[in-house]
């Protein structure tokens, strides 16, 4: 019995060590290597020294595409999730679509978008295709909130004469408000680092932080500049995270 307990404790300890090692090597160390490489190296031509305006343009384009995509996706996901309350056929289609798209390789989607949106204004093409790629993530979060609304509540509201738009405004929106905010925030954070869509759908005419990192790494070979840009990207995410937490705590206090 004692030997079995020792064996079990060893296994538990080994699993903790394994997860700690994997987290350290494949999450924390890469982040540290990227950030330290980025902030401790003096600026080089092509990096920050090119001028704040270039960096500002990169940041604003990245924010425009990611926030725009998150807003479009949240609206579409809300409408689609609300519709699942009224139509079982649509609910089946939407759940299947969410699962399939969540696990569809983004490169395949890029391939399709690049041919479908080739003559659309680049910023619009990149934003709408980013919205499509991040939609399954936000869609699942919002759908989980809608699934928790008792169907009796919706049926009661409808039988008392509430229009679908009223049901959406008075019953669905208040119930999924938390999921909506979380989905919007996660999608905007997730879309911030995209580089495949701006590269291939925007045909290089839309330069975001992600595409700039890819270009300076894989084409120019300037890893220092890439690390600097990655540091800016992470910094932007941290600012967004702090801002989001601030808004949440401010609302909680009120």
């Amino acid at each position: 019995m004692a030997a079995e307990k020792v064996g079990l404790a060893t296994k538990i300890m080994l699993s903790h060590i394994g997860l700690t090692f994997a987290t350290f090597v494949f999450v924390l160390l890469p982040l540290w290597l990227t950030l330290i490489g980025g902030v401790s190296t003096p600026p080089r031509p092509g990096g920050f020294s090119q001028g704040g305006s270039v960096l500002l343009a990169l940041v604003s384009t990245s924010l425009t595409t990611s926030l725009g995509a998150a807003s479009i996706s949240t609206s579409v996901a809300l409408l689609a999730s609300a519709l699942t309350l009224f139509s079982r056929t649509f609910a089946g289609f939407y759940r299947l679509w969410l699962t399939v798209m969540l696990f569809t390789n983004p490169i395949f989607l890029v391939l399709g978008f690049s041919s479908l949106l080739w003559n659309v204004e680049p910023l619009l093409a990149v934003t709408s295709s980013t919205a499509y790629v991040v939609l399954p993530l936000g869609g699942l979060i919002i759908q989980s909130g809608v699934d928790q609304i008792p169907s009796v509540q919706i049926k009661a509201a409808r039988s008392l004469g509430a229009l679908p738009i009223v049901v959406l405004r008075e019953h669905v929106l208040p119930a999924v408000r938390g999921q909506l905010e979380l989905a919007w925030f996660l999608m905007s954070i997730y879309g911030l680092g995209f580089y495949l869509l701006p590269t291939f759908v925007g045909f290089g005419r839309i330069v975001t932080l992600g595409t700039a990192i890819n270009t300076v790494t894989n084409r120019v070979g300037d890893w220092v500049a890439a690390q600097q840009l990655a540091s800016v990207l992470i910094g932007l995410q941290i600012v967004m995270l702090v801002g989001w937490q601030f808004v949440r705590s401010y609302r909680a206090v009120r």
Partner: protein, 259 residues
């Protein structure tokens, strides 16, 4: 359903399914490029045939599956015992470790790729299947951690306590509890990790070159080097496979419940 709701459903189906449908049509292109056909009789299966004949797709698929299996298995080995220990004992260290391991979910893959590239290079694992499998742990660990610990959090550990009360050892009681109550969540976590690794693109592009060709790498070379519409056929095949798996899993779940 009223007309308005029907109209909304149609609009949403067009928005959501339109791009996939269009890619499906493009995969039947009769020309050598990315063109739609004007008449149904012009549709051609040449790109589906190319997908079948071109062995690079098959090799890429096998490599991707191998990488995904190894990465998902390693993630399960790392995460499941820690999550179970946390659920049974409430250990804060285990909870903190699970939370820390899911940090990668919030970091853009392009940022992680730069750091992992340096590590992989230092251990001579660049452009190897093992290197990619290990790198994919940054995707598969958060996926397993999120799905499995979320299910554990919302479940009862009564099965474990009953087994212990009946004299089972902690290990045997845990195994009994997991196999009785959490087989579905274990399967879901493993499947999601596998699919997450299969659909990962950014790390793959940064960490592989010519020796290891995954599906993502093969599709990318199809876009960047020349226009290769067999990628459309590949996408439609992938969408078909995932849909089929989803529908079959749903049917099995439904018949189990009915049974």
């Amino acid at each position: 359903m009223s007309m308005l709701k029907k109209a909304l459903a149609i609009v949403l189906i067009v928005i959501l399914g339109g791009p996939v449908f269009a890619i499906g049509l493009l995969s039947l292109s009769p020309s050598k490029g990315m063109d739609f056909f004007s008449r149904p009789e012009q549709a051609s299966f040449q790109w589906w045939a190319a997908l079948y004949v071109d062995h690079s797709w098959a090799i890429a698929a096998v490599t991707s599956v191998n990488i995904a299996i190894l990465s998902a298995a390693l993630a399960m080995i790392c995460v499941v015992p820690v999550a179970v220990y946390w659920r049974l004992t409430g250990a804060r260290l285990s909870r903190a470790l699970l939370g820390l391991s899911s940090l990668a979910f919030f970091v853009p893959p392009v940022v992680l790729a730069i750091g992992i590239y340096k590590i992989v290079l230092a251990f001579n694992l660049f452009d190897t299947a093992l290197g990619l499998s290990l790198a994919h742990l940054s995707i598969t660990i958060p996926v397993v951690g999120f799905i499995f610990s979320e299910r554990l959090k919302n479940s009862s550990n009564a099965g474990f306590l009953v087994a212990r009360a009946l004299g089972a050892s902690p290990a045997a009681a845990t195994m009994t509890w997991l196999s009785a109550s959490h087989r579905a969540s274990l399967t879901a976590a493993a499947a999601a990790a596998f699919m997450g690794s299969m659909s990962e693109a950014t790390l793959t592009i940064f960490l592989s070159d010519t020796r290891v060709t995954t599906i993502a790498r093969r599709a990318l070379s199809g876009i960047s080097q020349d226009v290769d519409p067999s990628g459309y056929a590949a996408m439609m095949a992938w969408v078909g496979i995932v849909s089929l798996v989803y529908i079959c899993a749903g049917q099995i779940k439904y018949s189990n419940r009915k049974g």
